[in-house]
């Protein structure tokens, strides 16, 4: 008898599945993940999601692909299973391995339902005919089988498993940070093989995305954002204004404008809860001189 509620829940869930994934839910995730930021060449006035934005990295220049439903240059001929495999396994429909410049190391942690919703949304965007530009990589990084080795070292596939010791808000935040918004992709420094450096989770990078500085966002008081109150972090994620009155710029301003500022207050609070819970890491990314000026600033 005690099984009835579970059975009813199962029936309801299967009904929800039968109704099909919801493109609106997919659009919400699409914004939270910031897909359009990389897949649009905004600087050169490129069409939305038609790709072509250059991602300059120490390993070479990657050019993002067209993810509109155009049949010849985009994802028009893909099936949902292809999309699922791209996100979950980092592999194309033809089986080739993707470079981790596409953040599948994060997207692999998405739930099945969320991948379905994202796919449903991507089918609704206007197709744009624009051929992909090949990556500009040194010859020794061009053989894709190398990526098998990279994946063995650094890739941990599988959807997010909630931590039963933590509450729902924390788990939602962890899911958003780790799987959807893929914060660590920029905020965790990498080694020379492009893997995350051990013990520096979210601890920032002196020369990170686009050669710029990426701040330490762990709760360390001296080098991270440990002096920020919960309210200040929430305000920053919503508006881009830091506690010292400065405004976000560069890539983070894109992330806030196109993504975080459109999330529900609950999701922003969940992200703040999770980010403030990660282990503080002492990792100075700013030059000492500017840092002392900044410290002075915080009082």
């Amino acid at each position: 008898m005690a099984r009835w509620p579970a059975l009813i829940a199962l029936l309801l869930a299967s009904h929800a599945l039968a109704a099909g994934p919801d493109p609106a839910a997919g659009e919400y995730l699409f914004r939270a993940a910031g897909c359009a930021n990389c897949h649009t060449d905004r600087e050169h006035g490129g069409a939305p999601l038609a790709g072509g934005r250059k991602l300059a990295t120490p390993l070479g220049d990657f050019y993002t692909p067209n993810i509109t439903p155009d049949p010849d240059t985009g994802l028009g001929r893909w099936r949902e299973a292809d999309f699922r495999r791209a996100l979950r396994e980092g592999r194309g429909p033809d089986g080739r391995h993707y470079y981790p410049s596409f953040p599948y190391a994060a997207y692999t942690h998405l739930s099945d339902a969320d991948i379905g919703a994202l796919w449903a949304y991507l089918r609704t965007v206007p197709p744009v005919r624009q051929a992909n530009r090949p990556h500009a990589l040194p010859w020794y990084l061009q053989p894709r089988p190398l990526l098998v080795g990279w994946k063995r070292l650094y890739f941990h596939p599988g959807s997010y498993v909630p931590d039963p010791r933590k509450d729902a808000t924390w788990n939602r935040g962890a899911y958003l940070v780790q799987a959807v918004a893929h914060c660590a992709e920029c905020h965790t420094p990498r080694n020379r093989l492009g893997g995350f450096r051990v013990g520096l989770y979210l601890a920032g990078d002196k020369a990170g995305a686009e050669g710029g500085l990426v701040p330490n966002i762990t709760p360390d008081k001296a080098t991270g954002i440990g002096r920020w109150s919960r309210g200040e972090l929430i305000d920053y994620l919503k508006t881009g204004m830091r506690p010292d009155g400065d405004s976000a710029g560069g890539l983070m301003a894109e992330v806030i404008d196109n993504g975080l500022s459109r999330l529900t207050p609950q999701d922003i609070e969940a992200i703040a809860t999770y980010v403030q819970s990660v282990p503080p890491v002492v990792h100075a990314v700013r030059p000492a001189e500017a840092k002392s000026a900044q410290d002075e600033f915080e009082y």
């Binding site: 710029g212 506690p243 009155g245 400065d246 560069g250 404008d257 030059p287």
Partner: protein, 145 residues
Amino acid sequence: MKRQFSKAVVLGGVLACFAAGAMADDEDVIKYRRNVMKAYAAHMAAAGAIVQGKVKGSPAGHAKALEATTKDIAGMFPAGSDFGETNAMDAVWSKRAGFEKRAKDTEAKAAAFAKAADGAEAAAKFKDLSESCKACHKDYRKEQK
């Protein structure tokens, strides 16, 4: 006549040299604008605490200071001040028209904030100004070092 003309050229050249000498050194310009930007940030943080109700008071003084010091933002980024200790992106100079448009927008938003009464109106104008700062930083400033 010709002689007079060449005299004029020499005089003009001498004057130009004086003018260049009188003009601030590029490094000084960079230091100056960094300090002005810090002042903006400090006034924004202070005004923000008031409009959010964290502390009592009126944001008017901060708003007026912002209005008074944002009259010519683009002027703080003259040609030649694009090296060394600056987080300004090359786009400040290579996409000048876009940059000047953003700078003008910030000037207008600061003026609107200074005109606003206290309360909800000030909070709304404050938010507009903050958005304008971010919009310019998005395209024209590297992450702060």
